[in-house]
């Protein structure tokens, strides 16, 4: 294969480079351009095109932190789908419920971290309950699962509206998460020669860090533990896993608990960065659907890549062409579906 491949690719790239080396070079060039964009002081013509360096770099950073949030929601969604072929369309409701619970707990106890923990724990329990009482009865019946989960999401939205009304809530973050970080990125130079550094809210950096830690944790759990091995085996061939004596129902329950808990966790973290209001459930459901379609169903690394693409597209679109920004997200989705229908990291089934 490689023998056949090499002559053609080297003739394409010229200079005797393999295809791999050519891609590496492109990657290096792109990295250098990005590094220059971020760290250099911009000439006027570039500022004129991209509004200002501050706007551009902020959009990139915001895109990455938003991606962190999307990843937290979508990773649970993709896990549940990957293992159970169960498109849980009530996943957005889990996000919103987690946010409201986080708000209540934080408000009553005064401890934000307790709110975060409660958001995860309560939603993990809700997830298990849903799995045991609803989805277990509908095993292997995709259409009914989908319809029932839509039904649950509609009922849940109205129940939450009844309890928390239509107001906009803001979960108060603790003092130590307030304030802004000064990043070593120069956005402009004043006429007296002093450099203006970019400041960025500390809380958003924390959100991103949490998403990375959880992403790595999930990956380790899936690839280095026995439960993870069972889950991966279940994704590939459920019947075989069952035949080899594993209690599949227990594995399902664990996955549902982790997936729902992550949605609840993301709800509290996201509700502190942005806000909590009715309608968020649909927004995050749609975001995770797009992320998972782009990234590939059932893949954690796919969810990360998808979230990054969608987060960046949303923020850059918002700054540079706000009216048509939303189109960018769906262009990415359409292109992915056309070129690689199983998603970037998805396995063809």
């Amino acid at each position: 294969m490689s023998l056949l491949d090499q002559p053609s690719s080297s003739s394409l790239a010229g200079g005797g480079m393999t295809r791999r080396q050519a891609w590496g070079l492109v990657g290096l060039l792109a990295a250098a351009v990005i590094a220059w964009l971020v760290f250099a002081v911009w000439p006027d013509w570039l500022n004129a095109i991209l509004i200002s360096k501050k706007a551009f770099v902020s959009a990139i950073l915001n895109g990455i932190t938003l991606a962190g949030l999307y990843f937290l929601v979508a990773s649970g969604f993709t896990l549940i789908f990957g293992l159970m072929r169960n498109v849980n369309l009530a996943h957005g409701s889990l996000y919103l419920l987690g946010a409201y619970i986080g708000y209540e707990v934080t408000n009553r106890t005064g401890y934000w971290l307790l709110g975060v923990a409660a958001g995860f724990a309560v939603l993990a329990i809700v997830g298990v309950v849903m799995q045991v009482f609803v989805f277990r009865r509908l095993e292997g019946d995709d259409l009914r699962q989908t319809l029932v989960s839509i039904g649950i999401s509609i009922v849940a939205a109205d129940l939450m509206l009844a309890v928390w009304a239509g107001g906009t809530y803001q979960i108060t973050t603790p003092e130590w998460l307030d304030g802004a970080l000064t990043l070593p990125i120069i956005t402009a130079v004043r006429s007296n020669g002093a450099s203006v550094f970019l400041t960025y809210p500390l809380y958003r950096v924390v959100v991103l860090a949490a998403a990375i830690v959880i992403g790595v944790g999930l990956w380790l759990m899936l690839h280095r533990t026995r439960v993870g091995m069972m889950i991966r085996a279940g994704v590939d061939d459920r019947a075989m896993l069952q035949a080899s004596g594993v209690n599949v129902h227990a594995v399902f329950a664990i996955v549902f608990a982790v997936g729902a808990g992550l949605a609840g966790f993301a709800g509290v973290v996201g509700g502190s960065a942005l806000s909590v209001a009715p309608g968020e459930d649909v927004r995050y459901l749609l975001a995770s659907l797009v992320v998972v379609i782009v990234g590939g169903m059932g893949s954690i690394s796919g969810a990360a890549i998808g979230a990054l693409l969608i987060g960046l597209a949303e923020q850059i679109g918002l700054v540079y062409f706000p009216t048509y920004g939303i189109v960018l997200t769906f262009v990415i989705m359409v292109v992915t579906l056309a070129v690689r229908p199983q998603g970037i990291m998805g396995k063809a089934r």
Binding site: S58, L161, Q170, A277
Partner: protein, 415 residues
């Protein structure tokens, strides 16, 4: 096959449940449709608008011309198609002959177009305030007693330039017809006074993350004019505060409304002292306003002071009921008598006299306000000045006003 039959049965039952609830209203009741945003990003606004409308109904003890008032609610989510869907349901299924609503700008434009296809139904606006709902290509059977978004801005541009001394202002507003109208109303005066608007940011409705938008605002502006509503305003203000924003703000009418001022969180700090203008002022001490506030507070879940939406729906519902009272509740002639009565109607509202112009758009008083903290810790709009009887062309002769062109993202412009 069994499955198939069951599906059919389920379908049949479902159809039966949702079939038009035949308009069998008895002669002693009169049905009024109430269309507002009971879902989506403007839910709080919709809930408060209902309180306003119900205040007007309660004032008449639930009857008009000896007939019992039956309110049929329709819900939209601030998108034009949802508003038309809800209006169609109210008109074509529930059989209402009088409809009050909708709430939001683009919804108003869409419902006006729908009104043209239903000449026998009388439409009275809720709070939708896009200019062209009544100014260009109006519908004969669409009435607006609640003024438009440009009228609401009367006095603010001059105040910002002269009293506050702002020379350069950036604007941030949602990307649809109502904020276009508000920005137009503000800039009409501000640019005329000599001010400049170097940057205008239009954001999609329902946007959550404004930090990139905030970063793109030029740093050398004296103030930022913000016309965002509901959850969008709360998100913008919170993130502006988190990002350490220092430029003072100027508020659109619904940005510093009770629906936003009552939100919990740190955004309160950046709001104090923000000037704005609109159809209401919380600290208005006119007796009619105070009576209205007391009546409004009897509604379940009421805010400390009625929002602009409660006020707008109150005024429009009140006008509807007054009109129905004049014609003895008789709409059997396709509502012709009712529409004649409404066109000539002029009455005293909690915020002064309201009458209609030839396009059936209201002429009313507008209030210039500033956000302050009340004695009980609630944020309030303090009355600064009343601009009396503002008409839709903002006092400019009509032909000259029409030459300014239709409002959109780029019109007006004074960089």
């Amino acid at each position: 096959m069994r499955m198939h039959r069951r599906t059919l049965l389920a379908l049949a039952v479902f159809t039966g449940l949702t079939a038009p609830s035949m308009a069998l209203a008895a002669d002693d009741t009169i049905k009024i449709g109430l269309l507002a945003t009971f879902e989506g990003p403007f839910t709080v606004l919709g809930e408060d608008s209902e309180r306003g409308a119900m205040t007007a109904v309660a004032e008449m003890n639930g009857t008009v011309a000896g007939k019992k008032i039956e309110i049929v609610k329709g819900s939209s989510d601030a998108s034009p198609d949802s508003a038309v869907r809800a209006a169609r349901k109210l008109v074509e299924q529930d059989g209402v002959k009088v409809l009050v609503g909708p709430l939001s700008g683009d919804e108003g434009l869409a419902v006006k177009d729908y009104a043209k296809t239903q000449p026998n139904v009388t439409f009275i606006n809720g709070t939708s305030a896009a200019q062209d709902t009544t100014l260009r290509d109006p519908a004969e059977n669409f009435f607006r007693f609640s003024t438009d978004g440009a009228q609401w801005m009367a006095g603010l541009g001059t105040y910002a330039f002269k009293d506050k001394g702002y020379k350069k202002v950036a604007t941030v507003a949602e990307d649809y017809s109502f904020p276009y109208t508000q920005v137009f109303g503000f800039m009409a005066e501000f640019c005329k006074a000599g001010g400049h608007v170097p940057s205008k940011s239009w954001v999609p409705i329902g946007n959550k993350d404004f930090s990139s938008v905030i970063a793109a605002i030029p740093e050398d502006v004296d103030a930022i004019y913000v016309a965002l509503g509901g959850a969008d305003a709360v998100n913008f203000l919170t993130q502006y505060q988190q990002g350490g924003g220092s430029a003072p703000l100027i508020g659109g009418s619904i940005t510093v409304d009770q629906t936003v001022l009552t939100s919990k969180g740190k955004l309160r700090d950046v709001l104090k002292g923000t000037p704005s203008a609109g159809p209401t002022a919380d600290t208005n001490d006119a007796p009619a306003w105070k009576t209205f506030v007391e009546a409004y507070k009897k509604q379940p879940g009421a805010f400390p002071s009625p929002s602009l939406f409660a006020h707008g729906y109150y005024v429009d519902m009140k006008a509807t009921l007054l009109g129905l009272d004049q014609v003895g509740g008789d709409v059997s002639d396709g509502g012709k008598k009712l529409r004649d009565a409404l066109s000539k109607l002029s009455f005293d509202t909690p915020t002064g006299k309201v009458s209609l112009d030839k396009n059936r758009n209201a002429i009313a008083d507008i209030f210039l306000t500033e956000v302050t903290e009340g004695a009980d810790g609630n944020l309030m709009n303090k009355l600064v000045k009343v601009v009396p009887q503002v008409n839709q062309t903002l006092g400019i002769p009509e032909d000259e006003f029409m030459k300014l062109g239709a409002v959109n993202r780029d019109n007006p412009s004074c960089p």
